[in-house]
Structures are given as structure tokens and as C-alpha cells.
């Protein structure tokens, strides 16, 4: 279970507040859609969860399975089962994607007290997962995300998620920059990972993604707070009417 309680966040070396008392609970097996206009704080929420130190939590807490993660390093949070699919995955020249995947998988296995994967096991696992996402092994020999198209980057994020098998998945605008075919591949990839133990926060600006990944709950984030919560019909309402009336009601 993901519990976000009265979260207040500001930018580390400025006074600017971005999240202002955000409350949200996502249960195991639940897919929660987080929607909201640009600039409302969606990416900030995802970064704060992952532990980026550009932000400072001034009040409130984030709990995974009942335990606060605020004092944990980003890699400890990952080992605790958190995964963020970035809105803008960074390009890292010189680090072959395969080496990176292996380091990530083995680091987490080590943190869980498991043995490192042998190279043949590793390659077999990656090959299978990549195949389902229409990712070629050639692409994985290239430097991490370097020169990947927008769609390739997003598929690579989902591949990492599939390989690391996190319990708490946060997807930040995974649909942006995808054409309809890529959207289908990525959504199928996410849907394949849905399970009773796994909680998802699917951040999106548009309703489009939610036609493929059907959410259990929908939450509207505005000015750093959840201003409306509902079922999947809330997303359809937003698609038809825009954010204006809900924001108006909140203001």
C-alpha cells in the first residue's frame, strides 16, 4: 500500500511550495490515475517519492507498506519496491543499456539477499521481456536511452519495470510522445504487470492512456493537492469538460 499523508513539498533552495497537503492512498492491486493540468505538481510528486534531492518535504509523510521512506536514499527506495517510469528518461552516453540493466537487477537482488544472475540467465530474462515490448537486442547494446526515439525511451522504461518487478509503480506521463501503436505496446506491457500485490500510480495529462490502462480510481491534482477523487468515469468527465469546472469547484 502507498500512503501519502498531508505532503508539503518545496524546492530545496527556494521558498516556492509545490505540493500543499497532498493526501492519497493506493491499495495493493489498485491502479490509481493521477490527472491534472500542466504545472499542478504531478512530476514533483513522482520525484519526491523517488527521492530526488532537488525537493524538500516540509510536512507530511510517504509510507510504503506502512513504513516511511522519507529518510531512505533513492536506491533504498528502489530496493523497497518503488519504481518510477520517468516522464523524461535521461540519456547516459557510454553506459550500454545491457550493463545498466544487469547492474540494476543485481543491485536489487543483492539488497534482497538473493544471488546475482548468471549472464545466460540474465540474457534470457531480458530477451523474453524485451520481445514482449518489441525491443530489439540491438537497441539494448546501445548506450542507455542515448539517441532512442521518444517511443523507444518509454518502452525501455517499461522494460526496466518488468525486469525489476516493483511493488509500487509510478508512471509519469508514459503516454506522452507515443503514437497509437507504441501506446498499445506500452499499455499491454503495463497491463501484463497488473497483479493483486502491485499498486500503480498512473500520472497522465490526457484520458487517452486510460482507455488502454483502465484505472480503478481517478484523482485530480491541482496546485499541489488532490481536489477530486472518483472512479474511471471521472476521467471521461474531464475529457468531455476539461478541468475548468472541477478546478472552479475546488477554488
Amino acid at each position: 500500500m502507498i500512503e501519502i499523508k498531508n505532503l508539503h513539498v518545496k524546492i530545496a533552495d527556494e521558498d516556492k511550495m509545490i505540493l500543499n497537503g497532498l493526501n492519497l492512498t493506493v491499495k495493493p492491486g489498485e491502479v490509481a490515475a493521477i490527472m491534472g493540468p500542466n504545472g499542478s505538481g504531478k512530476s514533483t510528486l513522482s520525484y519526491v517519492m523517488a527521492g530526488k534531492d532537488d525537493y524538500e518535504v516540509t510536512e507530511g509523510d510517504i509510507l510504503l507498506n506502512g513504513e516511511s521512506i522519507l529518510e531512505m536514499e533513492p536506491d533504498e527506495r528502489a530496493a523497497a519496491g518503488l519504481f518510477l517510469a520517468f516522464q523524461y528518461p535521461v540519456e547516459i552516453p557510454g553506459v550500454p543499456t545491457m550493463n545498466f540493466l544487469k547492474a540494476a537487477m543485481n543491485s536489487q537482488r543483492k539488497a534482497h539477499g538473493e544471488n546475482e544472475l548468471s549472464t545466460p540467465e540474465f540474457i534470457k530474462t531480458v530477451r523474453e521481456a524485451a520481445g514482449k515490448l518489441d525491443i530489439s537486442m540491438d537497441m539494448l547494446k546501445r548506450s542507455l536511452n542515448t539517441g532512442f526515439s521518444g517511443g523507444e525511451k518509454k518502452r525501455a522504461e517499461i522494460l526496466q519495470m518488468a525486469l525489476l518487478e516493483p511493488k509500487y509503480c509510478v508512471l509519469d506521463e508514459t503516454d506522452s510522445g507515443l503514437d497509437i501503436d507504441a501506446l498499445k505496446i506500452v499499455s499491454d506491457g503495463v497491463n501484463a504487470l497488473r497483479s493483486p500485490e502491485r499498486a500503480f500510480m498512473v500520472i497522465t495529462h490526457y484520458q487517452r492512456l486510460l482507455e488502454h490502462i483502465i484505472p480503478d480510481t481517478v484523482h485530480v491534482l491541482y496546485k499541489g493537492r488532490i481536489v477530486e477523487t472518483g472512479g474511471k468515469e471521472l476521467a471521461q468527465h474531464l475529457e468531455a469538460n476539461g478541468y475548468a469546472d472541477i478546478i472552479g469547484k475546488a477554488a
Binding site: G51, A78, A103
Partner: protein, 419 residues
């Protein structure tokens, strides 16, 4: 012996002057005069601007009487090869392993005092390293690769230097027309203060192809003055690979003449500069004729209070049309106190050339680090992966592959211990 001088000599200069006055090498008097009148170069001497040798060279070991070297012939033999082949090994100035009669097919030569008086035809400004070397060299190898010979395996010139001693050596290699060979210069030393000065000269006749590796894993208190001079005839090809992974004060000079058309040159290097080390790589290339290429790439990692210097000069003479020369120097600073100075210098007198240089200094990208850590990779491992990515590239396409792997292994060992 320094009554002519009008400067007050430093402790290092005093010892050097003494040794020079006793040397019987051909160039001893020239060196004696230079040192006596001007002393060691200071930052006011342009090629030494970033490495003020007079200040940095605190002392100079007295000549070794009877050295109890920790580097016996046995330990020279035990050094793992960077690439398979034949090794000529020196413990200080004693030739301990690799008899010249056993040199591989196509190579002949001798080891002895004669090497000390060999010369080259490359012009060098403020040539302190070369002058001291030719005046004080006590031993060295003179090797000849026969025309057309394709030498099997590497020829390694291995050097070790004992604590509290100085070791001065000078080598000359001549490669005949259309010959091919791989040479590896290696330098190891005690962790106790000492001084090494080794100059290697390479002459490539028409169409000769060589790879020359300079790899040093010196002790943290060693001073090394090193120089590699080369001369390329028509159609010659030379790849120089430099790996600096040790030493306290290191000046590695590379000076070359590209004097034959269609000659191709590549210089690639990695400088790993740890706490308290000062490593200076200075290269001067002179393109004298049309249609030659040069590619120069250095990647530097600096930690602690380390200081790095790269000076890259490319001169393109007026007749050298269609020269293609590219130079890049990228540095990664791992601490606030680390420092790297890069000075690329193009002197171009021909009008139809393609020459470019670029120097960058960066630190580890926080966004890269965060991304990797968000996947569960520890900060330490993430940094190591990023640093490795930055430097490994330099040796990735090295031939033979085993050589590239050996160099990358040295890098990894250094990074494990220092980064």
C-alpha cells in the same frame, strides 16, 4: 661547477649539476650549461607554464650506489603482460630480462650505453626532459624492425625504479619500410620517493605501421619525466595509447613530425589523477606535408587535490594542405579541489585544412546519478559506472582486443582504489 651561474640553485638542481658534471654522455656539457645558467624551467617558460618544474621538483635522488631493488628480474617477469609477446625489462638501469638474441623474428637490436647517445630529428622547445635524459641516460635499447617484417606479438619495454633512486634510460626504435609492430612501454616503481626519466624515439619509414603504448602505474611518490618522439614517413600509420595511472609528478611529452604524405596518426589517452598527483601531458605535432591526418583524444579523471594538465599543440606548415587534425580533451572532476588545465593550440599556416579542437571540464551529472540510483544501483556503483563510461571508450576499439582489455583493467583497479 656552477660559478658561471647567476641564480641560486635549488636542491634538485645542485644534485643534477653534480651528476651532469660527472656524465660522459655526448650532450652532458650542453645540459650542464643550460641548467647552470637558467636552472630548471619555471612557469615563465611557456611550455612549462602549468608545470613549474623548478618549484615542483623538490629534490633529486643521489646516484644509486648499490641498489637493493625490490624489483628483481623475477618481479619484472611476474608483471602480467598487457599483451602477449617479448619483454625487455630494466630494473633501474640494469637490463635484467629479455636477451636481444631472443628478439622475435624481424627484430634486431642491442641494449647498452650506445643507446644513451642516440638522437632524433624532432624540434622541441624548452627541451628540459630531453636534455637531462641524453646527458644522464645510462642504458637503453636500440631496436630495428626489418623492412616488411610483421612482428608477431608485442615488444614490451618494462621499467621499474627502486625507492630513493633515479633511473634514466633512452631507447630508439626504427621501423623499416612496410613493417608492422606493437610496442609497449611500461613503468612501475616503488612507493618510496624516486625519479624516472625515460625517453623513447621512434622512426617510421615509408608505410610502416605501429602501435605504441605508454602505460604507467607508478608509485604515489614517483616523479617521472617521460618523452616520446616520433617521425613519420610517407604512408606511415601510428597509434599512440597513453595510460597514466600513478605517480606524483608526471610530465609526459609526445613530440612528433608528420613529414610524409598520407601518414595517419592517432593519439588516445586516459589520465587518472589521484589525490596529490600532478600529471601533465604535453603534445606537439608538426604536419609538414599535404594529406596527413591526426586524431587526438584524452579523457581525464581527477580526484582529491589532483591536478591535471594537457597542452596540445598542432602546427600545420604552409605546404601541408588537406591536413585533417582533430583534438579533444575531456575532463571529469570528482572533487571540489581537483583541477584540470587544458591548452589546445593550433598554429596553421596552410589555408585548405580541417582542424578542430575542443576541451571540456565537467563533474558527474546529478540527473544521471539520480536515474541510476532510482533503479536500485548504489551511489558508489552508479558513480563507478558513469566514470567508467567516460574513460573506457578511449580504449574500446583497441587492437589487439586483449591489450584494450588489459588497459581497461588497469583503469578499473585505479578507480576501485581512488574514485
Amino acid at each position: 661547477m656552477n660559478m658561471l651561474s647567476n641564480i641560486k640553485h635549488t636542491a634538485a638542481e645542485e644534485v643534477l649539476l653534480n651528476q651532469l658534471s660527472e656524465s660522459r654522455n655526448n650532450s652532458a656539457s650542453g645540459a650542464l650549461e643550460m641548467l647552470s645558467e637558467r636552472g630548471l624551467p619555471t612557469r615563465k617558460v611557456e611550455p612549462w607554464h602549468y608545470t613549474d618544474l623548478r618549484t615542483l621538483l623538490r629534490g633529486y635522488p643521489h646516484p644509486p650506489s648499490a641498489i637493493q631493488s625490490e624489483f628483481s628480474g623475477e618481479s619484472l617477469k611476474e608483471m602480467p603482460d598487457l599483451a602477449q609477446g617479448f619483454t625487455i625489462g630494466f630494473s633501474n638501469t640494469s637490463h635484467l630480462i629479455g636477451a636481444v638474441k631472443d628478439l622475435p623474428e624481424g627484430v634486431t637490436g642491442e641494449v647498452g650505453l650506445a643507446a644513451a647517445n642516440t638522437t632524433h630529428e624532432v624540434e622541441i622547445a624548452a627541451d628540459t626532459v630531453g636534455l637531462l635524459n641524453s646527458a644522464l641516460a645510462e642504458n637503453g635499447a636500440v631496436l630495428n624492425v626489418a623492412p616488411g617484417a610483421k612482428v608477431d606479438g608485442a615488444i614490451t619495454l618494462a621499467h621499474t625504479c627502486a625507492g630513493g633512486t633515479a633511473s634514466v634510460l633512452r631507447h630508439l626504435v626504427t621501423m623499416g619500410e612496410e613493417s608492422e609492430a606493437l610496442f609497449i612501454e611500461r613503468h612501475h616503481s616503488s612507493t618510496i620517493e624516486n625519479h624516472e626519466n625515460v625517453v623513447c624515439n621512434l622512426k617510421l619509414e615509408k608505410g610502416a605501421k605501429a602501435t605504441w603504448v605508454i602505460s604507467q602505474e607508478l608509485g604515489q611518490a614517483t616523479t617521472r619525466l617521460g618523452q616520446f618522439n616520433f617521425d613519420m614517413a610517407e604512408g606511415a600509420e601510428l597509434t599512440i595509447l597513453v595510460l597514466n595511472a600513478g605517480g606524483k609528478l608526471v610530465r609526459q611529452e609526445i613530440h612528433g613530425r608528420v613529414r610524409g604524405e598520407n601518414a595517419n596518426l592517432a593519439i588516445k589517452g586516459v589520465n587518472l589523477i589521484g589525490e596529490g598527483a600532478h600529471i601533465d601531458v604535453t603534445t606537439t605535432l608538426s604536419h609538414e606535408v599535404p594529406h596527413t591526418t591526426a586524431e587526438e583524444l584524452f579523457r581525464n579523471v581527477v580526484t582529491g587535490h589532483g591536478k591535471g594538465v594537457f597542452q596540445g599543440q598542432i602546427r600545420v606548415a604552409q605546404p601541408a594542405q588537406k591536413t585533417d587534425a582533430q583534438m579533444a580533451c575531456n575532463s571529469l572532476l570528482l572533487s571540489d579541489d581537483s583541477d584540470f588545465s587544458a591548452k589546445p593550440e593550433l598554429e596553421i599556416f596552410a589555408d585548405d585544412v580541417v582542424c578542430a579542437h575542443g576541451a571540456t571540464v565537467t563533474d558527474i551529472d546529478e540527473d544521471h546519478l539520480f536515474y541510476m540510483r532510482s533503479r536500485g544501483i548504489s551511489e558508489r556503483d552508479s558513480r563507478a559506472l558513469l566514470i567508467k563510461a567516460f574513460v573506457d571508450e578511449v580504449f574500446e576499439e583497441t587492437e589487439p582486443e586483449a591489450l584494450g582489455e588489459s588497459l581497461i583493467e588497469i583503469i578499473e583497479t585505479w578507480l576501485d582504489a581512488n574514485a
